[in-house]
Structures are given as C-alpha cells and as structure tokens.
C-alpha cells in the first residue's frame, strides 16, 4: 500500500509542482483522518492542491466558495416547502459529501464558519431537530487567505483547533515557476488524473496508521515539547493536550508513510510545525527574529 501512497504523492506533485513536501504533509493529514487548512495568498495553488487531492483519492467531493453573505443553510442544507406534498422537505447542503472543499473559508462570517464545526468534529449535521450522518470518510479541505487581507474574518481558535494541520504552499522556486509558466494552467489536467487510492484502501491505510506503535521515549519527547511550549515566554498559549494528541495522530501517519510501524522523534519533528503552529498563540508585541516554534524543536532535547 505504501507504494500506492508514493504514487499518489507523485501524481499530485505532477500538478502542484515543486511542493512535494507540502503534498506529503497534506496526504499525511488525510491518512490521519484529519481536516486540512491551507493558508496562503491568492493564486498560490491552494485550490489546485485541494482539487487534486480530492481527485486522486477517488472521493466524491463538492466545492463551496465561502463569501461574506453566506449563511449556514448554504452549507448544511435546509427545509424547502414542497408544494405538491404540502410539506417541508430537507434538502441536503453541499456538506453531504466525502470531501468538502471550503474555499476561502475566512471570507465568510463566524456564524457560517461555526456551521462547519459540528460537521468537522462529529461527522454529523443537526438541522431542524434531526441529526443526519455525514458520509464516511469525511474531510474538510479548507483554504484561507492570510488574515491580514481585506474582507477576512479570522477563524476562532476553537475552529482552528479542528484542523489537524495548517499548511502553506509559498512561492515556487525559479525553475518550478518557469516550468509552470511554460505549461500554463494545469487545472484541466486534474480530471484526467488516475485515482490512486480508493476509499476502501484509504480506510485500510487509516486503520494501519492508527496502529503505529508509540513508545515511551517518544511520548516523553512529545510531553516535553508540549511542556516547553507552555513555559516558553514567547508563546502566550501553549500546546493543549488535544494539540499533543493531534501531534501524535499526524506523526503516526507520517511514520506510516515513511515505511515504519513505529513512531520516532523524527516523525514528530516533521509534522510539528504544521500541526502546532495554528494552535499556539504567539506573542506578537515582541519582535523575535527566530521562529518560536522552531526554537521549541531546537531547545527540547530528543534524548531524555
């Protein structure tokens, strides 16, 4: 199954050029049953990545473009009066899908953002007093613009917490960009990509990831990381226990992708930044040169 994962990563990388590391992280996030938040400036290929991922996993997906006038019912669906039967009939919203592309999620109001909350956490939607199960697997791939842009509503911390990882693509390097310019828009190619992992296999892989062994030394290391983040003076709010659990969850998937059935501190370090960064509140009034998250990794000893 691991070669299928590699194949999948290669496939996605053929569309999202020069970002193999980010692609791997995104794949790891999905293998860990986590929701993914992609934050970047417009035009960096966020939506392309999301599209490609949805496609190669062979998942049924819908895309919702979030706008500031959007209402929860636009996502969750609502009751519509049927004149023929003279009754209200529930029309499922776009959330009833295996993979929801929430484009520019921070353009909508907090009210609408929260509508996604229950869906992401519980895998179900409650509307009009009826709880409806979402299909399984259910992912949310959200993209957002940096919060300092105009017309954005920053996601509340509680909502951010529900995303396993937050990644960003960044500008491509010179060679890649040249290649990209040469090929033009690759979006049309997405539809022609093969499905690398079907949903049955995805579930198997997800189970296998879950079973990656975590030894005491690694648990100690994660605990030390969490502890350090809480006592660091550059960080206002440290890593919560849920954050630490998320770290293990993501690192397990990474370990599985690296071909191991046990977790090492290397795996933890690999996923650390993307899992932890959006969960911490970093002090902004001080002009630190070094990245405080990077500082955690350098300062906490791997060996106890």
């Amino acid at each position: 199954m691991r070669d299928r994962i590699d194949q999948l990563v290669d496939t996605v990388s053929s569309v999202v050029l020069g970002k193999e590391d980010v692609v791997r992280l995104a794949v790891a996030c999905m293998l860990a049953r986590g929701h993914l938040l992609i934050e970047d400036l417009p035009g960096m290929g966020k939506t392309t990545l999301a599209h490609t991922l949805a496609h190669v996993f062979g998942l049924e997906y819908r895309r919702v473009q979030f706008t500031s006038d959007m209402l929860p019912a636009d996502i969750l669906g609502g009751a519509v009066f049927n004149q023929q039967t003279s009754s209200f009939v529930y029309h499922p919203g776009p959330v009833f899908t295996q993979l929801l592309l929430a484009d520019e999620i921070n353009r909508s109001t907090p009210k609408t953002q929260s509508a996604l909350l229950e869906a992401m956490e519980e895998g179900q939607v409650s509307s009009e007093g009826v709880t409806r199960q979402l299909p399984s697997p259910f992912f949310v791939l959200a993209t957002q613009n940096p919060t300092n842009q105009f017309g954005t509503f920053p996601l509340p911390e509680s909502q951010l917490d529900r995303f396993l990882m937050k990644i960003s693509l960044g500008y491509p390097d010179a060679d890649t960009e040249k290649k990209l310019l040469k090929h033009g828009d690759t979006r049309s190619d997405i539809e022609e990509l093969p499905v690398c992992i079907d949903s049955k296999m995805l579930q198997d892989i997800q189970t296998a990831c879950q079973q990656v062994a975590v030894s005491e030394p690694v648990l100690d290391y994660i605990q030390r990381l969490a502890q350090f983040s809480r006592s660091s003076e550059e960080i206002v709010l440290g890593l919560s226990p849920r954050g630490a659990l998320a770290l293990i969850q993501a690192a397990k998937a990474w370990a599985y992708m690296s071909g191991r059935d046990f977790l090492t501190p290397d795996d933890v370090q690999q996923v650390f930044s993307s899992v932890v960064e959006h969960r911490l509140l970093i002090r902004k009034d001080l002009n630190y040169q070094a990245d405080p998250i990077r500082a955690i990794l350098t300062k906490v000893d791997v060996l106890s």
């Binding site: 062994a213 690694v218 501190p265 930044s273 350098t298």
Partner: protein, 692 residues
Amino acid sequence: MAEVVNQTSRELTPGAKKWLLIMLITVSAPQLMYVPLWLAVTGGCLLSWVWLTLERHRYVIPRWGKGVVVIAVILGVLVFSSQSKGLDGLSSLLIAGALLKSMELKKQRDGWVLVLVACFIAAVGFLFNQSMPSAVYGGVSLLTIVCALLMMHQGSTQAWLFLPVKKSLFMLLQSIPLMLILFLIFPRIGPLWSVQYQQSTAKTGLSDRMQPGDISRLTRSASVAFRVSFTDNKPPAPEQRYWRVMTFADFDGQGWSIADVTKQDMQGDVSDDDLIEYQVIAEPSASTWLFALDYPLASSASAVQRYSDGTFKARAAVSQRISYTASSLLIKPYDGHPLVNRPRYLAVPAAGNPQTRKMVRQWQQKGFSAEEKIAALFKNFNQHFTYTLSPQKLQGNRIDQFLFDTREGFCEHFANATAYTLRLAGIPSRVVGGYLGGEWNDYEEYLLIRQYEAHAWVEAWLDGKGWIRLDPTTAVAPERVIQPFDQLFSSSPEFMADSSMMAFRLQQNLAWLKTLSLRYDALNYNWHRWILGYHQQQNNLLQDWFGQISLLKMLLLLFIPVGCMLMIVFWWLLKVQSRWMHPVDKEVVAISDLLAKVSVELKRASGETVQMYSVRLAETLPEIRAELDAWSGLYQRLRYADASAQAEDTSLQYHRLSQQLMSKIKRLGKQGVIGKGVKQPDVEKQIETRVW
C-alpha cells in the same frame, strides 16, 4: 501524593520477602537466649512456613489459623513480659510483633514496618551485649536490613541473593566516613530514660559478708573483674598488687560484715616519687565497689568517692563498664592521726573459741609485744597449716576448729582467724577484701584481674605505725602472692573442678591458645577503652585537636561537614538529571562526547534526533557511513519500536556496534581524519530542512 500511595500499596516481590525474612532471622538471632523457648520455636515454625508459601503458593495459612496464632503469641508474650522485669520482656515483645507481622507481608508498607522494627531490635541487642563480636554482628544485621530495603525497591527478581549484598555492602562502606565523624564529635548525651540491666547475676569473687567455713569450695569464675593500665606502663611487683575493694570491721562470731564508713576527701596533695597513677576499667558489677591499688589516695573521676577506710566507691551502682583514673602509694607513711573508734576494731563476742582465747592468754603471760604476737601466729601458720581451695566445713567454734583441728583453708579462713586472734590480743584489726595479683598483658600493657583472684587479708593497727597490712596467706603459701594464681593452681584438681574452668584450663596448658587469648583480651581492652569508653576521652581528644571546645564549636564542627556533604549531594542531584538516562541513550551521548573532543561541531545538538545526527555524521565521516546507518537503525528499533518486538540480541548488537563505532572514531581521530572540513553544525538550519 498519589505516587506515595501508589508506592506503599505496591506488592512486594518474592525476593524482597525472602530478604525481609532473612533480615528478621539475622536481627533476632542473638536475642534468642533472652526470649522464652516457646516463642523461639513458634517463631522458627512461622518463618519457615512463610518461606514455604513463597516457594510454593499452596500452603497459605487460613485466616482463622492466623487469628489463633496472633492471640496465643500476644497472650504468651504479655504473661512473659509481666513476669520479667528487665529487657527480656521488651525484646520478646518486639520480636513477637515482628514475627507476627511477617505473616502478612504483602505490600511495600508492611515491608517498611518490618524494616523499622528490625532496626530497633538490632539496637536493643546492644543493650544486652556490647562486646566486639556483637558489634560486628550488628554490622551484619545492618547489612541484611539494607539488603531487604534494596530488594523492596528493586523490580528485578533475578540474582536476588548476592547482588543486594554487594550493593548494600558498598552503601554501608560509603557511610563509614559519616559514622566516624558522628562517633568522634557527636556530643554524648546522657540517657533520657534508663532500663533495668540484669547483669548483677555475674559471678563475683566478692560478697558483702565474709563467713569462712560456710562453703567448702570457693566458687571461682574466670570472668574479668577489671583491667588496669599504668601511667608509666609498668605494673608494680607481683607481691605489691593488692587491690583494695572493701573492709570488714564488724565481727559477730560467725563472720565479718562491711563496716559503715564515712566519706572522706581525696588525698590529692601527696606528691611522691612512689606515687602510682593508673586507669581502671571496671566491668559492670551491679554494686558500688570500685578497685584501687593499696593504698589508694585519690581519684580524679567525679563518679568515684573515697571513704575513710581507704576504699573507693562509685556514687551509683556500676551497671555499665566505667573507667576512672586513680593514684596510690605502695607504702603509706603513718600520718600521725590516732585511730578513730578504737573499740570497734577490738570488738569480739564475749564467749566462744576457748582454745584461741587460751593461746592468746599464753601470749599475754609471756609478755609478747604486738609484733611478737603477730610473728608467733604467722609462724604457727607457716609450720602447721596448708593452703587449700576445698577445706572442710566448719561448725560451732569455727576459729578454734580451724586453728587447732582442720588447719587448712584459703585466704578467708586465714584472714578471719588472724583478725579474730589479734582482736583478742588487743590489737585493733580488720579484714580487707579485694584482689591479689593480675595478669600482665604485654601487647597492650595492662593488667587483667579476674574474679578468681579475689583475696582477703588483714590490717592491724599498730600504735605509732598506723594500719599495717598483714597477709596471713603469705605465711602459709608465699607462692600465692608471687606467682600468678592460675599457674599456682592449674594443676590442683579442686581449682579446675569447676566445669566453667575447663576451657580456661585448656587455654592455660596450650601456649598458643594462651597467646591467642592474651591477644584477644588486648583487642577487647582497646575496644572497651577506645570505642565503648570513648565518651570519657572525647572531651580530651577534641580539646587536643581543636583547642578549648565549646558547645558552639562542637555544633559548628558537626554542621559544617554535614552542610558540605549536603551541598555535594544537592549538586549531585542537580547534575544527575542528565545522568538518569536510558543505557541506550547513554551510548549516544558517549559517542557525541567522544566526537566533541575532536571537534565541537560534531557534538549532537539537543534538538537533533539520532537519525539526523547519524546522517550528519555520515556526511563528514563517510568512512563509517555504513556503521552509522546500522547503528541509528538499531537505536530506533531499540528505543522506539514496539517493546514486544525487541529481542535481547538487538540491544547486544547495538551495544557492540556502539563500541565498534567508538573505537573507529578514536582511530580516525588519531589519524586526524576527523576535524578536517567539518560541516558547520547549524541545527537551526537542519531543522529548517524539516517541512514548514
């Protein structure tokens, strides 16, 4: 808090239980002779049973059985301790409690209780016996206690027998400096309460009443009465070794009893060349008598009181070994004081012993002077009397019977007859009880006086001369004075008839055994003098070392080293954080340290995983890339893989590979390969290669 609770309720391992039982047996063994026999037997059965349940889990004592045993033992011990006054009761109570506790050894907490009780039992043992062997045994007891404690806190059950012994021996050795410091400078505080000693049962050669003829055979004991060391390391001549203990002044026709005497000041102002200064270490005797060389002058010890008859007495019964210094004169000049209470020293019953009275009348008629009377009596002794340790019994007119009929006896008979006769003859006299002789120990230069060297002699008051020592025994058996007692009588069956003397006799006949016994006694002497009696020297010693000692100085002396020690411990504990490492991790650190010696850049950074580190090393040291890869792979498997999948040989393999790596690194370091073109150790940069 939760952790503490967790610990106390942790189950004891079988190894720990076994050690607790061994500890219990070791600690209570020396006190077996003080506890009632039934308790010893019950205890033995109980402990064997508990041990058996450890080996085989079947034989568990039923609940009601436990109840019966507990009630029976408690009742028995209560009855026993209510009957015994001394320490026996206490010791039995302790031992019984510990034995019963051993039945419910389950949790860590039970083990702790048992360990504490064992410490107490071991300490109580020193109340019974403070000899050198018992001190050594105390060390052994301590060892088993530490072993038990160690096993209680150790998870491993393998090698439960010797490993803890080794470890606790090491621990005890480490504690020796502290022990020495405490021994040397810790102030000796008097006991807060006192316990009844039962050592008065020790046989002594002296009693407070002398009644010759009552017993046909003298009870002789070879136990030590006291030891004396002399300031000039030279003992007085054998014929001058009269050790004065008590005087008998009152005669009732049958025997002599101790005179009531008044206290007297020490005669400290005498400064004479003949003055002999010495130190006495007296064994406990449960009486107040003390020993002094005739004629005693003064003693510097505050516990010693001098009396008007020239004897020393302790202010309280000698229940523990005491030591005191004293000075004596061998020949005491007459100080010119007249005899106080002259009639007392002349008093005899009005009637009885007609033959003796007749003999004295004859002397009076012949007009003998006092000296002539004494000479006549002694001549008579010399010519017609024999010295024996088993004389015939005397009845009725005992002195008549002795002087004119049996004509045999030992020192008491002669002293008795002499004093009586002299009193009849108008010469004030009294009997002196004490010891004569002593065995000189060349190794440590002290005189050892045993109980069988007890002696009685007479002092007569001669006008113009004062009290004069008269030893009638010298007239009969002069060799008794000059030769050591044991040599003199070792061949005579009556002396050795006592079964307790058998070992002693053997000792006297075998030269090497005699040497050995002298050596052992010398050792014992030092033990008593320097270890048990150290509190008497402590002040002097400390004064020599540190000058005038005050309480403040003493405390400083005590607390500065202790403080220093605590600081060291504190420092060590702070440092130890990096030390408490998994052995597998330790080897990583060792390799990192080894490389850091060559080039600081090659040291592992704290945020660097072993995998990253090995990759980085492989870049600078391609020579050992293969080893490094294998090594880090093994490391990961050992530390991070599922524990059940770890095989013993993986860790061995890892260890071997680490050693191999280290030796290679050393070799490369010598060749100067390492250190050239070392890549800059930018961990930040490295971590930057992680995905962001």
